[in-house]
Amino acid sequence: MASNRGIVGTVISRLVQAVIVVAIVTTLVFVLIHIAPGDPFAAAMDNPNVSEALRARWRAMYGLDQPLLTQYVRYLANVARGDFGWSFSMHRPVLDVLKDALPNTLLLAGTALVLGFAGGIGLALIQAMRPGSRTDRTLGAGSMFFYAMPDFWLALMMMLIFAYWFPVFPVAGAVDPIMHEYMTPLAAVADRLKHLALPAITLALLSGAAVARYQRAELLRVLPDDFVRTARAKGVSERRIMLVHVLRNALIPTVSLLGLSLPGLFTGAVFIERVFAWPGMGWVILNAVSTRDYPLVTAGVIVAAATVTLGSLLADLLYAVVDPRIRGR
């Protein structure tokens, strides 16, 4: 009973924390955007055919002539209702733009998360079986290599190798721009997967390298524990000790790594989306930044931060489920 109340308490306090974080991000981004020089009609400023009166009317139409505080309060009220305003550059509601983009990013990041964690944990197991061996050192050097790699550069190199030199995968985009409309459902799914493969593998290599480094260290930390010695004394096979006894205990900190790795995964996705023209949140935010599309940038960063915060919250709760020792804390 006490431990249940503990979980509920943890959930509530973490939820409150998450709301505060999102509120701070909202405010911060709003302040930044409004103290920065330039406005959405800056491009029109250079056009001599646009009269000052017309520009003033545009500003009034979008409420940009109101005092900052008024704009802010109205913005908060709108955000709370899920109304992010109108995207100047895309000529459609911001919410619709983000609704289209977020699933693409979640698909990319989710696939990479699963591949990266599965691969990273697998590699760490192979390494920890014989620490210090040639296999361990080779794999360790490999994960160090990918760990130290800029995401966009790896994406460019993957594109060079697997789209230009060996054209196995398409260069860019989420689907074939012309043929996708006319494909059978099955072929359309295959087309999507083919376009997903290269960005997802790139992102998975990067997160997998970090997971492998972390997981190897955790496995080695658990190995000298008494229960491992007991298992050996009982005559349990080395493989079973590793997979059942050691891994189960060494996986617990990795669950917390899940939450910690989300911001990196998300920002990695931003760069990789840019390289592969993958129409997700990063692609949308970067386009909005270059067109000075205030509402879209604001909403994009807020939704991204909220997604990351929510993800970390879920990872924390998962941690409480996996490790009974921290319940009630």
């Binding site: 930044l32 620490p131 190897r216 911001p263």
Partner: protein, 293 residues
């Protein structure tokens, strides 16, 4: 069996420490090349000798890293780019480490409500994806001068370190030598600076070493987006950007600066890990992972 695993862990430590010399050597070499750029560089990095005939020339003996679409020598650009990449990362790290140490030390030493409020702020700051924030700032203040880019990178990079410093100070201030200092009438700033902070120095050095590698990658990414270092200055990231749109045909423009970034970042990480191992015998690789934020 237990003896074996202990044996291998010291083996691993020795292995790491042995590689620290190598990593330090690589870093020193890169720094020397950057310092001596005018002497070493085979060509002028911004000269455009023959914009038609020498455009996107593949690597050769004359141009080991090839030339870019303005016929500039990529090797020379990489050598001069080292100056920009290293100094931006180095100075930004100095700013971040200073802020993080001061903030963490004050929070940890003050304790109570002050500590709680200061750390809630850090929690919130850590929850904001740093790259998104940087993209927003740099895009809004288009074409920031180099020194302001350094400041922005530094000011957004100290939250993780402040947490570690605070945790250490929190436990250090309960120790007997601090009580002794207080008993002989030392003031709080004096206790903090003369007695507590010297014990945090190893953490700071490790964090700075890892931080430089991290910021080099971060700056490269921002420059790739056209938001970081502005022309005519060029960091390794900006050179990658020069070749990004033609990676299928002129891959050498993006490949070589990227390799330099990876080499430098690996050297920083290896050195940081080795220093960590040397300072803290109970270390585990990856324990400093939270410094990435």
């Amino acid at each position: 069996m237990a003896a074996e695993s202990i044996g291998t862990s010291t083996h691993w430590t020795r292995h790491v420490v042995r590689h620290a010399g190598f990593a330090g050597g690589v870093l020193a070499l890169i720094v020397v090349v950057a310092l001596l750029a005018p002497l070493i560089s085979p060509y002028d990095p911004i000269a455009q000798p023959d914009i038609i005939g020498l455009k996107n020339a593949a690597p050769s003996f004359v141009h080991p890293f090839g030339t870019d679409s303005f016929s500039r020598d990529v090797l020379s650009r990489c050598i001069y780019g080292a100056r920009v990449s290293l100094s931006v990362a180095g100075l930004a790290t100095v700013i971040a480490v200073t802020l993080g140490t001061l903030y963490g030390a004050i929070a940890g030493y003050a304790g109570g409500v002050i500590d709680a409020v200061m750390m809630r702020f850090v929690d919130a700051a850590l929850a904001i994806p740093r790259v998104l924030l940087l993209i927003a700032i740099l895009a809004l203040w288009n074409g920031l001068p180099l020194w302001l880019l350094v400041v922005v990178l530094g000011v957004t990079g100290w939250f993780g370190l402040s947490r570690m410093v605070r945790a250490q100070v929190l436990s250090l201030r309960e120790l007997d030598f601090v009580a002794a200092a207080r008993a002989v009438g030392a003031s709080s700033p004096r206790i903090l600076i003369r007695h507590i902070l010297p014990n945090v120095v190893p953490t700071i050095i490790v964090a700075a070493t890892l931080g430089i590698g991290h910021v080099i990658i971060l700056e490269a990414g921002l420059s790739y987006l056209g938001l970081g270092v502005q022309p005519p200055s060029a960091s390794w990231g900006s050179i990658i950007q020069d070749g990004a749109d033609q990676v299928g045909s002129a891959w050498w423009i993006s490949l070589f600066p990227g390799l330099l970034i990876v080499t430098t970042a690996i050297a920083c990480n290896a050195l940081g890990d080795a220093l960590h191992a040397a300072f803290d015998p109970r270390h585990t690789t990856g324990a400093m992972a939270e410094l990435d934020s």
